[in-house]
Protein backbone atom coordinates (compact mmCIF):
# COMPACT_ATOMS: atom_id res chain seq x y z
CA UNK A 1 0.00 0.00 0.00
CA UNK A 2 2.68 2.45 0.98
CA UNK A 3 4.76 1.54 -2.07
CA UNK A 4 1.71 2.16 -4.21
CA UNK A 5 1.18 5.56 -2.61
CA UNK A 6 4.64 6.68 -3.50
CA UNK A 7 4.12 6.18 -7.19
CA UNK A 8 1.21 8.53 -7.75
CA UNK A 9 -0.65 11.47 -6.41
CA UNK A 10 -3.78 10.37 -4.57
CA UNK A 11 -7.25 11.79 -4.28
CA UNK A 12 -8.83 12.13 -0.88
CA UNK A 13 -12.06 13.58 0.46
CA UNK A 14 -10.74 15.72 3.26
CA UNK A 15 -11.38 18.60 5.60
CA UNK A 16 -9.42 21.82 5.13
CA UNK A 17 -7.72 20.96 8.42
CA UNK A 18 -6.69 17.56 7.07
CA UNK A 19 -5.35 19.22 3.94
CA UNK A 20 -3.15 21.39 6.15
CA UNK A 21 -1.78 18.21 7.73
CA UNK A 22 -1.07 16.70 4.31
CA UNK A 23 0.61 19.91 3.17
CA UNK A 24 2.75 20.13 6.28
CA UNK A 25 3.96 16.56 5.94
CA UNK A 26 4.72 17.05 2.25
CA UNK A 27 6.69 20.18 3.10
CA UNK A 28 8.79 18.18 5.54
CA UNK A 29 7.30 19.29 8.84
CA UNK A 30 8.70 17.02 11.53
CA UNK A 31 7.64 18.79 14.70
CA UNK A 32 4.27 19.88 15.98
CA UNK A 33 3.72 21.43 19.39
CA UNK A 34 0.17 22.47 20.08
CA UNK A 35 -2.76 22.99 22.37
CA UNK A 36 -6.26 22.04 21.26
CA UNK A 37 -8.74 24.79 20.48
CA UNK A 38 -11.86 24.86 18.36
CA UNK A 39 -11.95 25.12 15.37
CA UNK A 40 -8.31 24.20 14.78
CA UNK A 41 -8.15 20.95 16.74
CA UNK A 42 -8.53 18.71 13.67
CA UNK A 43 -5.12 19.90 12.52
CA UNK A 44 -3.59 18.92 15.85
CA UNK A 45 -5.38 15.57 15.89
CA UNK A 46 -4.14 14.85 12.38
CA UNK A 47 -0.56 15.65 13.34
CA UNK A 48 -0.86 13.54 16.52
CA UNK A 49 -1.86 10.59 14.40
CA UNK A 50 0.59 11.04 11.55
CA UNK A 51 3.81 12.54 12.92
CA UNK A 52 4.90 9.67 15.21
CA UNK A 53 4.66 7.39 12.18
CA UNK A 54 6.98 9.49 10.05
CA UNK A 55 10.72 9.32 10.12
CA UNK A 56 11.88 11.53 13.01
CA UNK A 57 8.46 13.09 13.55
CA UNK A 58 7.74 14.60 16.94
CA UNK A 59 4.32 15.53 18.23
CA UNK A 60 3.82 17.06 21.64
CA UNK A 61 0.76 18.50 23.32
CA UNK A 62 1.89 21.38 25.48
CA UNK A 63 0.20 22.95 28.50
CA UNK A 64 -0.99 26.07 26.67
CA UNK A 65 -0.54 27.99 23.45
CA UNK A 66 2.44 29.94 24.75
CA UNK A 67 4.23 26.70 25.51
CA UNK A 68 3.22 25.32 22.12
CA UNK A 69 4.88 28.12 20.22
CA UNK A 70 7.86 28.02 22.60
CA UNK A 71 8.39 24.34 21.87
CA UNK A 72 8.11 25.00 18.15
CA UNK A 73 10.74 27.72 18.37
CA UNK A 74 13.07 25.38 20.27
CA UNK A 75 12.61 22.63 17.71
CA UNK A 76 13.11 25.11 14.88
CA UNK A 77 16.45 26.12 16.40
CA UNK A 78 17.26 22.42 16.55
CA UNK A 79 16.82 22.30 12.77
CA UNK A 80 13.26 21.04 12.43
CA UNK A 81 10.52 22.33 10.18
CA UNK A 82 7.83 23.11 12.72
CA UNK A 83 4.15 23.96 12.85
CA UNK A 84 1.49 24.80 15.37
CA UNK A 85 -2.17 25.59 14.90
CA UNK A 86 -4.54 27.58 17.02
CA UNK A 87 -7.51 29.90 17.02
CA UNK A 88 -8.26 33.40 18.34
CA UNK A 89 -7.67 33.13 22.10
CA UNK A 90 -4.62 30.95 21.60
CA UNK A 91 -3.31 33.28 18.93
CA UNK A 92 -3.53 36.17 21.38
CA UNK A 93 -1.49 34.19 23.92
CA UNK A 94 1.17 33.47 21.32
CA UNK A 95 1.88 37.05 20.40
CA UNK A 96 4.94 37.59 22.56
CA UNK A 97 6.63 34.51 21.16
CA UNK A 98 5.71 35.49 17.61
CA UNK A 99 7.76 38.61 18.23
CA UNK A 100 10.56 36.49 19.67
CA UNK A 101 10.51 34.26 16.59
CA UNK A 102 10.72 37.36 14.39
CA UNK A 103 13.62 38.69 16.43
CA UNK A 104 15.64 35.47 16.42
CA UNK A 105 14.52 34.73 12.86
CA UNK A 106 13.21 31.27 13.60
CA UNK A 107 11.37 29.68 10.67
CA UNK A 108 7.99 28.34 11.73
CA UNK A 109 4.44 27.98 10.46
CA UNK A 110 1.54 29.09 12.61
CA UNK A 111 -1.95 28.26 11.42
CA UNK A 112 -4.74 30.34 12.91
CA UNK A 113 -8.23 29.07 12.17
CA UNK A 114 -10.20 32.21 12.81
CA UNK A 115 -13.41 32.12 14.83
CA UNK A 116 -15.71 34.85 16.09
CA UNK A 117 -14.25 37.20 18.67
CA UNK A 118 -13.10 39.13 20.61
CA UNK A 119 -12.43 36.92 23.62
CA UNK A 120 -14.11 33.51 23.59
CA UNK A 121 -16.52 34.95 21.03
CA UNK A 122 -18.16 32.44 18.72
CA UNK A 123 -15.99 29.34 19.07
CA UNK A 124 -17.64 27.29 16.34
CA UNK A 125 -18.39 30.01 13.83
CA UNK A 126 -16.26 31.53 11.12
CA UNK A 127 -14.78 35.00 11.24
CA UNK A 128 -11.86 36.91 9.78
CA UNK A 129 -11.20 39.16 12.73
CA UNK A 130 -7.53 38.32 13.31
CA UNK A 131 -6.15 39.81 10.10
CA UNK A 132 -4.66 42.95 11.55
CA UNK A 133 -3.59 41.09 14.67
CA UNK A 134 -1.61 38.69 12.51
CA UNK A 135 0.23 41.68 11.09
CA UNK A 136 0.54 43.83 14.18
CA UNK A 137 -0.22 41.57 17.12
CA UNK A 138 3.18 41.42 18.69
CA UNK A 139 4.88 44.48 20.09
CA UNK A 140 7.66 46.28 18.32
CA UNK A 141 8.11 46.91 14.64
CA UNK A 142 8.79 43.88 12.56
CA UNK A 143 7.99 42.35 9.25
CA UNK A 144 6.04 39.14 8.83
CA UNK A 145 4.36 37.02 6.18
CA UNK A 146 0.64 36.30 6.49
CA UNK A 147 -1.05 33.93 4.05
CA UNK A 148 -4.60 32.83 3.51
CA UNK A 149 -6.31 29.90 1.79
CA UNK A 150 -9.57 29.73 -0.07
CA UNK A 151 -10.59 26.11 -0.46
CA UNK A 152 -9.44 22.71 0.74
CA UNK A 153 -6.93 22.10 -2.05
CA UNK A 154 -5.62 25.57 -1.39
CA UNK A 155 -5.12 24.68 2.29
CA UNK A 156 -2.64 22.05 1.20
CA UNK A 157 -0.79 24.25 -1.25
CA UNK A 158 -0.69 27.32 0.96
CA UNK A 159 0.65 25.22 3.83
CA UNK A 160 3.49 24.08 1.59
CA UNK A 161 4.02 27.70 0.55
CA UNK A 162 4.05 28.78 4.18
CA UNK A 163 6.82 26.32 4.96
CA UNK A 164 8.77 27.38 1.91
CA UNK A 165 8.53 31.07 2.83
CA UNK A 166 9.41 30.34 6.46
CA UNK A 167 12.54 28.48 5.44
CA UNK A 168 13.54 30.74 2.58
CA UNK A 169 13.15 33.97 4.51
CA UNK A 170 13.94 32.63 8.01
CA UNK A 171 10.76 34.00 9.46
CA UNK A 172 7.55 32.95 11.13
CA UNK A 173 4.72 32.61 8.61
CA UNK A 174 1.11 32.86 9.69
CA UNK A 175 -1.50 30.99 7.70
CA UNK A 176 -4.94 32.44 8.38
CA UNK A 177 -7.84 30.13 7.71
CA UNK A 178 -11.42 30.54 8.82
CA UNK A 179 -13.75 28.00 10.33
CA UNK A 180 -15.51 27.40 7.00
CA UNK A 181 -12.28 26.65 5.15
CA UNK A 182 -11.00 24.36 7.88
CA UNK A 183 -14.27 22.47 8.21
CA UNK A 184 -15.21 22.07 4.57
CA UNK A 185 -14.69 18.63 3.07
CA UNK A 186 -13.69 18.44 -0.55
CA UNK A 187 -12.01 16.15 -2.97
CA UNK A 188 -8.38 17.12 -3.22
CA UNK A 189 -5.31 15.76 -4.89
CA UNK A 190 -2.38 15.06 -2.61
CA UNK A 191 0.65 15.41 -4.83
CA UNK A 192 3.95 13.63 -4.35
CA UNK A 193 6.63 15.54 -2.52
CA UNK A 194 8.93 15.08 -5.48
CA UNK A 195 6.50 16.98 -7.68
CA UNK A 196 6.52 20.00 -5.38
CA UNK A 197 9.06 22.69 -4.80
CA UNK A 198 10.22 22.13 -1.21
CA UNK A 199 12.70 24.63 0.24
CA UNK A 200 15.08 24.32 3.17
CA UNK A 201 16.84 26.97 5.22
CA UNK A 202 20.27 28.03 4.10
CA UNK A 203 23.15 26.24 5.84
CA UNK A 204 26.47 27.94 6.58
CA UNK A 205 29.27 27.20 4.19
CA UNK A 206 32.10 28.66 6.25
CA UNK A 207 34.07 27.16 9.14
CA UNK A 208 32.28 27.52 12.51
CA UNK A 209 34.68 30.15 13.88
CA UNK A 210 33.76 32.49 11.04
CA UNK A 211 30.04 31.96 11.26
CA UNK A 212 27.88 34.85 12.44
CA UNK A 213 24.26 33.88 12.99
CA UNK A 214 22.82 37.28 12.11
CA UNK A 215 25.24 38.47 9.50
CA UNK A 216 24.21 40.71 6.64
CA UNK A 217 24.00 38.70 3.41
CA UNK A 218 23.00 39.38 -0.17
CA UNK A 219 19.42 38.29 0.40
CA UNK A 220 19.41 39.61 3.94
CA UNK A 221 18.81 36.09 5.21
CA UNK A 222 21.68 34.60 7.22
CA UNK A 223 22.32 30.86 7.08
CA UNK A 224 20.93 28.89 10.03
CA UNK A 225 22.60 25.66 11.20
CA UNK A 226 20.82 23.38 13.66
CA UNK A 227 21.90 23.45 17.30
CA UNK A 228 24.52 20.83 17.96
CA UNK A 229 26.06 20.88 14.50
CA UNK A 230 29.32 22.50 15.57
CA UNK A 231 28.20 26.04 14.92
CA UNK A 232 27.77 27.34 18.44
CA UNK A 233 26.02 30.66 18.66
CA UNK A 234 23.79 32.75 20.85
CA UNK A 235 20.23 33.74 20.18
CA UNK A 236 18.36 36.30 22.20
CA UNK A 237 15.19 38.33 22.06
CA UNK A 238 17.29 41.37 22.91
CA UNK A 239 18.28 43.47 19.95
CA UNK A 240 21.55 41.92 18.90
CA UNK A 241 24.56 42.40 16.69
CA UNK A 242 25.53 39.99 13.94
CA UNK A 243 27.08 37.61 16.49
CA UNK A 244 23.76 37.44 18.26
CA UNK A 245 25.09 39.29 21.28
CA UNK A 246 22.89 41.97 22.85
CA UNK A 247 23.68 45.48 21.68
CA UNK A 248 22.34 48.96 22.21
CA UNK A 249 24.66 50.69 19.79
CA UNK A 250 22.41 52.74 17.49
CA UNK A 251 24.18 51.73 14.27
CA UNK A 252 24.00 48.03 15.13
CA UNK A 253 20.37 48.26 16.22
CA UNK A 254 19.39 50.01 13.01
CA UNK A 255 21.33 47.52 10.91
CA UNK A 256 19.65 44.55 12.61
CA UNK A 257 16.10 45.87 12.35
CA UNK A 258 16.45 47.14 8.79
CA UNK A 259 17.89 43.85 7.59
CA UNK A 260 14.93 42.02 9.09
CA UNK A 261 12.59 44.25 7.09
CA UNK A 262 14.66 44.19 3.95
CA UNK A 263 14.88 40.41 3.77
CA UNK A 264 11.12 40.33 3.17
CA UNK A 265 10.48 43.71 1.55
CA UNK A 266 12.81 43.21 -1.37
CA UNK A 267 11.07 39.98 -2.36
CA UNK A 268 7.50 41.25 -2.63
CA UNK A 269 7.30 39.80 -6.13
CA UNK A 270 7.93 36.34 -4.74
CA UNK A 271 5.81 36.58 -1.61
CA UNK A 272 2.69 38.43 -2.76
CA UNK A 273 0.37 35.84 -4.24
CA UNK A 274 -3.02 36.76 -5.67
CA UNK A 275 -5.52 34.91 -7.79
CA UNK A 276 -7.30 37.11 -10.31
CA UNK A 277 -10.67 36.19 -11.84
CA UNK A 278 -12.06 38.24 -14.73
CA UNK A 279 -10.29 41.39 -13.62
CA UNK A 280 -8.98 42.35 -17.08
CA UNK A 281 -12.06 44.26 -18.17
CA UNK A 282 -13.72 44.60 -14.80
CA UNK A 283 -15.63 47.72 -13.92
CA UNK A 284 -16.67 46.57 -10.50
CA UNK A 285 -13.98 44.81 -8.55
CA UNK A 286 -14.10 42.58 -5.51
CA UNK A 287 -11.16 41.99 -3.16
CA UNK A 288 -11.68 38.99 -0.90
CA UNK A 289 -9.82 36.19 0.84
CA UNK A 290 -10.52 32.93 2.61
CA UNK A 291 -13.95 31.36 2.32
CA UNK A 292 -15.48 34.73 1.47
CA UNK A 293 -13.51 34.70 -1.78
CA UNK A 294 -15.55 31.63 -2.75
CA UNK A 295 -18.79 33.53 -2.21
CA UNK A 296 -17.33 36.40 -4.19
CA UNK A 297 -16.36 34.06 -7.00
CA UNK A 298 -19.94 32.85 -7.38
CA UNK A 299 -21.25 36.42 -7.09
CA UNK A 300 -18.91 37.57 -9.88
CA UNK A 301 -20.09 34.70 -12.10
CA UNK A 302 -23.71 35.60 -11.40
CA UNK A 303 -23.00 39.28 -12.10
CA UNK A 304 -21.37 38.41 -15.44
CA UNK A 305 -24.48 36.37 -16.35
CA UNK A 306 -26.41 39.59 -15.81
CA UNK A 307 -24.04 41.53 -18.02
CA UNK A 308 -22.13 43.33 -15.26
CA UNK A 309 -18.39 43.43 -15.79
CA UNK A 310 -17.30 42.22 -12.37
CA UNK A 311 -13.92 40.82 -11.38
CA UNK A 312 -12.29 39.35 -8.29
CA UNK A 313 -8.89 39.41 -6.69
CA UNK A 314 -8.53 36.55 -4.24
CA UNK A 315 -5.72 37.44 -1.84
CA UNK A 316 -3.55 34.45 -0.95
CA UNK A 317 -0.98 36.71 0.66
CA UNK A 318 -2.46 39.20 3.11
CA UNK A 319 0.83 40.66 4.33
CA UNK A 320 3.01 42.09 2.96
CA UNK A 321 -0.16 43.49 1.40
CA UNK A 322 -0.24 42.82 -2.37
CA UNK A 323 -0.32 46.46 -3.23
CA UNK A 324 0.53 46.25 -6.92
CA UNK A 325 -2.31 43.88 -7.80
CA UNK A 326 -4.93 45.70 -5.75
CA UNK A 327 -3.82 49.10 -6.97
CA UNK A 328 -4.21 47.84 -10.54
CA UNK A 329 -7.77 46.81 -9.80
CA UNK A 330 -8.49 50.14 -8.12
CA UNK A 331 -7.27 51.96 -11.22
CA UNK A 332 -9.49 49.93 -13.54
CA UNK A 333 -12.73 49.78 -11.55
CA UNK A 334 -15.13 52.51 -10.59
CA UNK A 335 -16.06 50.57 -7.45
CA UNK A 336 -14.11 48.02 -5.47
CA UNK A 337 -16.01 45.95 -2.92
CA UNK A 338 -14.26 44.36 0.04
CA UNK A 339 -16.42 41.72 1.73
CA UNK A 340 -14.98 40.27 4.93
CA UNK A 341 -16.17 38.61 8.11
CA UNK A 342 -15.07 41.45 10.37
CA UNK A 343 -15.80 45.15 10.75
CA UNK A 344 -13.22 46.12 8.11
CA UNK A 345 -9.62 44.96 8.30
CA UNK A 346 -8.31 44.25 4.80
CA UNK A 347 -10.52 47.08 3.56
CA UNK A 348 -8.21 49.41 5.52
CA UNK A 349 -5.35 48.22 3.37
CA UNK A 350 -7.37 48.53 0.18
CA UNK A 351 -8.34 52.09 1.11
CA UNK A 352 -4.74 52.85 1.99
CA UNK A 353 -3.48 51.90 -1.45
CA UNK A 354 -6.40 53.50 -3.32
CA UNK A 355 -4.87 56.11 -5.66
CA UNK A 356 -8.22 57.91 -5.53
CA UNK A 357 -9.51 56.37 -8.73
CA UNK A 358 -12.10 54.12 -7.20
CA UNK A 359 -14.77 54.05 -4.52
CA UNK A 360 -14.14 51.37 -1.92
CA UNK A 361 -17.18 49.73 -0.41
CA UNK A 362 -17.15 47.22 2.38
CA UNK A 363 -19.44 44.37 3.27
CA UNK A 364 -18.96 43.42 6.89
CA UNK A 365 -20.47 40.51 8.70
CA UNK A 366 -19.75 39.46 12.27
CA UNK A 367 -22.73 37.24 13.11
CA UNK A 368 -20.82 34.00 12.70
CA UNK A 369 -22.12 33.33 9.21
CA UNK A 370 -20.27 33.45 5.95
CA UNK A 371 -21.02 36.31 3.62
CA UNK A 372 -23.28 34.92 0.93
CA UNK A 373 -22.92 35.32 -2.82
CA UNK A 374 -26.28 37.08 -2.76
CA UNK A 375 -24.99 39.82 -0.45
CA UNK A 376 -21.99 40.43 -2.67
CA UNK A 377 -24.05 40.31 -5.86
CA UNK A 378 -26.39 42.96 -4.52
CA UNK A 379 -23.44 45.19 -3.82
CA UNK A 380 -21.94 44.54 -7.26
CA UNK A 381 -25.23 45.51 -8.92
CA UNK A 382 -25.23 48.80 -7.09
CA UNK A 383 -21.56 49.41 -7.87
Amino acid sequence: MSAKRKTAAREIFALGAEAVVEGALLAGCSFYGGYPITPSSEIMEGMAERLPRTEDGVFIQMEDEIASLGACIGASLAGRKVMTATSGPGFSLMQELIGYACMIEAPLVLVNVMRGGPSTGLPTSPAQGDVQQARWGTHGDHSIIVLSATDVQDCLHMTVKAFNFAEKYRTPVILLLDEVTAHTREKITVPLAQDLEILYRLQPSMPPEWYKPFEETVRGVPPMPPLGSGYRFHVTGLTHDDHGYPTQKPDEVVAAISRQFRKIDQFFFDIQITDEFLTGDAEVGVVAYGSVARSAHLAVEQARERGIKAGLIDLKTLFPFPRAAVEGLLRRCRTVIVPEMNMGQISREVKRVNPGTSTVWTINRVDGHIITPKQILESIRKG
Binding site: E11, I12, F13, P39, L122, P123, T124, S125, D151, V152, V180, H183, T184, R185, E186, K187, S291, R294, S295, H297, L298, E301, G368, I370, T372, P373, K374
Partner: protein, 221 residues
Protein backbone atom coordinates in the same frame (compact mmCIF):
# COMPACT_ATOMS: atom_id res chain seq x y z
CA UNK B 1 -13.05 8.10 -12.34
CA UNK B 2 -14.52 10.79 -14.57
CA UNK B 3 -18.21 11.49 -14.16
CA UNK B 4 -20.26 10.70 -17.26
CA UNK B 5 -22.69 13.56 -16.86
CA UNK B 6 -22.44 17.26 -16.28
CA UNK B 7 -23.82 18.90 -13.17
CA UNK B 8 -23.58 22.57 -12.36
CA UNK B 9 -24.05 23.18 -8.64
CA UNK B 10 -26.47 20.62 -7.36
CA UNK B 11 -27.17 21.53 -3.75
CA UNK B 12 -28.27 19.14 -1.05
CA UNK B 13 -29.05 20.10 2.51
CA UNK B 14 -29.27 17.24 5.01
CA UNK B 15 -30.85 18.37 8.24
CA UNK B 16 -32.22 16.93 11.41
CA UNK B 17 -31.59 16.68 15.10
CA UNK B 18 -28.19 16.47 16.69
CA UNK B 19 -27.50 12.76 17.18
CA UNK B 20 -29.41 11.53 14.12
CA UNK B 21 -26.18 11.01 12.23
CA UNK B 22 -26.75 13.78 9.74
CA UNK B 23 -23.08 14.70 9.51
CA UNK B 24 -21.93 11.09 9.09
CA UNK B 25 -24.52 10.76 6.38
CA UNK B 26 -23.08 13.80 4.63
CA UNK B 27 -19.52 12.51 4.96
CA UNK B 28 -20.32 9.09 3.50
CA UNK B 29 -22.34 10.57 0.68
CA UNK B 30 -19.78 13.26 -0.04
CA UNK B 31 -16.93 10.80 -0.11
CA UNK B 32 -18.84 8.48 -2.47
CA UNK B 33 -19.78 11.27 -4.84
CA UNK B 34 -16.32 12.81 -4.78
CA UNK B 35 -14.02 9.80 -4.90
CA UNK B 36 -16.32 7.12 -6.32
CA UNK B 37 -18.29 9.11 -8.85
CA UNK B 38 -15.62 11.70 -9.52
CA UNK B 39 -17.67 14.83 -8.94
CA UNK B 40 -16.43 17.92 -7.22
CA UNK B 41 -18.08 17.95 -3.84
CA UNK B 42 -17.97 20.48 -1.05
CA UNK B 43 -19.39 19.30 2.25
CA UNK B 44 -19.81 21.73 5.10
CA UNK B 45 -21.59 21.47 8.41
CA UNK B 46 -23.11 23.60 11.07
CA UNK B 47 -21.63 23.17 14.48
CA UNK B 48 -22.26 24.95 17.69
CA UNK B 49 -25.25 25.36 19.92
CA UNK B 50 -27.61 24.35 17.18
CA UNK B 51 -25.92 20.94 16.95
CA UNK B 52 -26.91 20.10 20.50
CA UNK B 53 -30.55 19.13 20.61
CA UNK B 54 -31.41 21.72 18.01
CA UNK B 55 -31.10 21.46 14.29
CA UNK B 56 -28.04 19.81 12.85
CA UNK B 57 -27.17 20.38 9.26
CA UNK B 58 -24.70 19.43 6.60
CA UNK B 59 -24.57 20.87 3.12
CA UNK B 60 -23.33 19.16 -0.02
CA UNK B 61 -22.62 21.01 -3.22
CA UNK B 62 -22.03 18.71 -6.17
CA UNK B 63 -20.70 19.87 -9.50
CA UNK B 64 -18.59 18.83 -12.41
CA UNK B 65 -17.17 22.36 -12.45
CA UNK B 66 -14.99 23.75 -9.68
CA UNK B 67 -17.15 24.75 -6.75
CA UNK B 68 -16.94 28.32 -5.61
CA UNK B 69 -19.30 28.97 -2.71
CA UNK B 70 -19.11 25.82 -0.57
CA UNK B 71 -22.40 26.20 1.27
CA UNK B 72 -25.86 25.80 -0.17
CA UNK B 73 -27.10 28.89 -1.95
CA UNK B 74 -30.34 27.55 -3.39
CA UNK B 75 -31.22 24.05 -2.27
CA UNK B 76 -32.13 21.40 -4.87
CA UNK B 77 -32.79 18.64 -2.36
CA UNK B 78 -33.72 19.24 1.24
CA UNK B 79 -33.73 16.22 3.51
CA UNK B 80 -35.50 17.08 6.75
CA UNK B 81 -35.38 14.47 9.45
CA UNK B 82 -37.02 16.55 12.15
CA UNK B 83 -39.84 19.05 12.33
CA UNK B 84 -37.59 21.86 13.45
CA UNK B 85 -35.13 21.26 10.61
CA UNK B 86 -37.95 21.19 8.13
CA UNK B 87 -39.34 24.50 9.35
CA UNK B 88 -35.93 26.11 9.45
CA UNK B 89 -34.56 25.16 6.05
CA UNK B 90 -37.68 24.91 3.92
CA UNK B 91 -37.49 28.60 2.96
CA UNK B 92 -34.00 28.08 1.49
CA UNK B 93 -35.21 25.76 -1.25
CA UNK B 94 -35.34 26.54 -4.93
CA UNK B 95 -38.94 26.86 -6.18
CA UNK B 96 -38.87 23.47 -7.92
CA UNK B 97 -36.68 21.69 -5.40
CA UNK B 98 -37.44 18.36 -3.79
CA UNK B 99 -38.27 17.93 -0.12
CA UNK B 100 -37.71 14.55 1.47
CA UNK B 101 -39.01 14.24 5.01
CA UNK B 102 -38.92 11.73 7.82
CA UNK B 103 -42.66 11.31 8.27
CA UNK B 104 -42.18 9.76 11.72
CA UNK B 105 -41.04 13.10 13.12
CA UNK B 106 -42.21 15.67 10.59
CA UNK B 107 -45.94 15.91 11.02
CA UNK B 108 -46.60 19.41 9.76
CA UNK B 109 -45.17 19.56 6.30
CA UNK B 110 -45.21 23.08 4.87
CA UNK B 111 -46.18 21.89 1.39
CA UNK B 112 -47.99 19.01 -0.22
CA UNK B 113 -45.26 18.74 -2.84
CA UNK B 114 -42.99 16.43 -0.91
CA UNK B 115 -41.65 12.92 -0.67
CA UNK B 116 -41.83 11.12 2.62
CA UNK B 117 -40.87 7.89 4.35
CA UNK B 118 -41.10 7.07 8.06
CA UNK B 119 -37.34 6.62 8.46
CA UNK B 120 -37.24 6.48 12.27
CA UNK B 121 -40.06 3.96 12.38
CA UNK B 122 -38.40 1.83 9.70
CA UNK B 123 -35.10 1.71 11.53
CA UNK B 124 -36.71 0.71 14.82
CA UNK B 125 -39.36 -1.69 13.52
CA UNK B 126 -37.47 -3.40 10.74
CA UNK B 127 -33.84 -3.23 11.83
CA UNK B 128 -34.28 -2.90 15.57
CA UNK B 129 -31.51 -0.33 15.41
CA UNK B 130 -32.46 3.34 15.58
CA UNK B 131 -28.86 4.36 14.85
CA UNK B 132 -29.12 2.99 11.29
CA UNK B 133 -31.81 5.52 10.40
CA UNK B 134 -29.35 7.76 8.60
CA UNK B 135 -28.25 4.89 6.36
CA UNK B 136 -31.85 4.19 5.35
CA UNK B 137 -32.04 7.86 4.38
CA UNK B 138 -28.83 7.40 2.41
CA UNK B 139 -30.48 4.55 0.50
CA UNK B 140 -33.52 6.66 -0.29
CA UNK B 141 -31.41 9.63 -1.38
CA UNK B 142 -29.30 7.32 -3.54
CA UNK B 143 -32.44 6.27 -5.31
CA UNK B 144 -33.60 9.83 -5.76
CA UNK B 145 -30.37 11.26 -7.12
CA UNK B 146 -30.17 10.49 -10.79
CA UNK B 147 -26.39 10.69 -10.75
CA UNK B 148 -25.75 8.48 -7.72
CA UNK B 149 -24.88 4.84 -8.11
CA UNK B 150 -25.85 2.44 -5.41
CA UNK B 151 -22.71 0.32 -5.77
CA UNK B 152 -20.39 3.30 -5.25
CA UNK B 153 -22.39 4.60 -2.30
CA UNK B 154 -22.24 1.15 -0.75
CA UNK B 155 -18.49 1.03 -1.23
CA UNK B 156 -18.05 4.36 0.52
CA UNK B 157 -20.31 3.20 3.33
CA UNK B 158 -18.29 0.02 3.78
CA UNK B 159 -15.04 1.95 3.86
CA UNK B 160 -16.28 4.51 6.34
CA UNK B 161 -17.77 2.25 8.98
CA UNK B 162 -16.23 -0.17 11.50
CA UNK B 163 -16.38 -3.75 10.19
CA UNK B 164 -18.84 -5.02 12.78
CA UNK B 165 -21.63 -2.65 11.77
CA UNK B 166 -21.12 -2.81 8.01
CA UNK B 167 -23.63 -5.61 7.40
CA UNK B 168 -26.56 -4.00 9.14
CA UNK B 169 -25.83 -0.70 7.42
CA UNK B 170 -25.69 -2.29 3.97
CA UNK B 171 -29.04 -3.84 4.80
CA UNK B 172 -30.32 -0.40 5.82
CA UNK B 173 -29.00 1.16 2.62
CA UNK B 174 -30.72 -1.44 0.47
CA UNK B 175 -33.94 -1.09 2.43
CA UNK B 176 -33.93 2.67 1.96
CA UNK B 177 -33.27 2.32 -1.74
CA UNK B 178 -35.97 -0.34 -2.18
CA UNK B 179 -38.62 1.45 -0.17
CA UNK B 180 -37.93 4.69 -2.00
CA UNK B 181 -38.27 3.04 -5.36
CA UNK B 182 -41.53 1.41 -4.22
CA UNK B 183 -42.93 4.60 -2.80
CA UNK B 184 -41.69 7.14 -5.31
CA UNK B 185 -41.53 5.13 -8.53
CA UNK B 186 -38.99 7.27 -10.32
CA UNK B 187 -36.43 9.90 -9.39
CA UNK B 188 -38.02 13.34 -9.54
CA UNK B 189 -38.59 14.59 -13.02
CA UNK B 190 -37.11 17.93 -12.25
CA UNK B 191 -33.67 16.31 -12.31
CA UNK B 192 -34.28 14.28 -15.46
CA UNK B 193 -31.95 16.47 -17.45
CA UNK B 194 -29.11 15.34 -15.24
CA UNK B 195 -29.99 11.68 -15.39
CA UNK B 196 -27.17 9.30 -15.84
CA UNK B 197 -26.63 7.73 -19.22
CA UNK B 198 -26.13 4.05 -18.59
CA UNK B 199 -22.69 3.01 -19.72
CA UNK B 200 -23.53 -0.67 -19.68
CA UNK B 201 -21.29 -1.83 -16.88
CA UNK B 202 -23.47 -2.39 -13.90
CA UNK B 203 -25.76 -0.08 -12.05
CA UNK B 204 -28.51 -0.67 -14.51
CA UNK B 205 -31.14 -0.71 -11.81
CA UNK B 206 -31.80 2.94 -12.31
CA UNK B 207 -32.84 3.71 -15.82
CA UNK B 208 -33.53 7.15 -17.07
CA UNK B 209 -37.13 8.04 -16.43
CA UNK B 210 -39.02 8.16 -19.66
CA UNK B 211 -41.48 10.74 -18.62
CA UNK B 212 -41.91 13.01 -15.69
CA UNK B 213 -43.64 11.40 -12.76
CA UNK B 214 -46.08 13.09 -10.52
CA UNK B 215 -44.38 14.95 -7.75
CA UNK B 216 -47.27 14.47 -5.43
CA UNK B 217 -46.03 12.37 -2.59
CA UNK B 218 -47.48 8.96 -2.10
CA UNK B 219 -48.84 8.08 1.29
CA UNK B 220 -46.25 6.77 3.61
CA UNK B 221 -46.29 2.99 3.77
Amino acid sequence: MKPDIQIDRFEICLSGLGGQGVITLGKVMGKALALGHGFNVAQTQSYGPEARGGASRTDLVISTRPISYPKTDKIDLLVALSQEACNKYYPLMKPQAVLLVNTTLVKQIPTNQYLGLPFTEMSIDRLGLPQAMNTIVLGAVTFLLPFARRSLIRKSLEESLPAKIVDVNVKALNMGYREASKAFGQPPAIWAAMTVADNGNGDTEKAAPKKPTAKKAPKAP
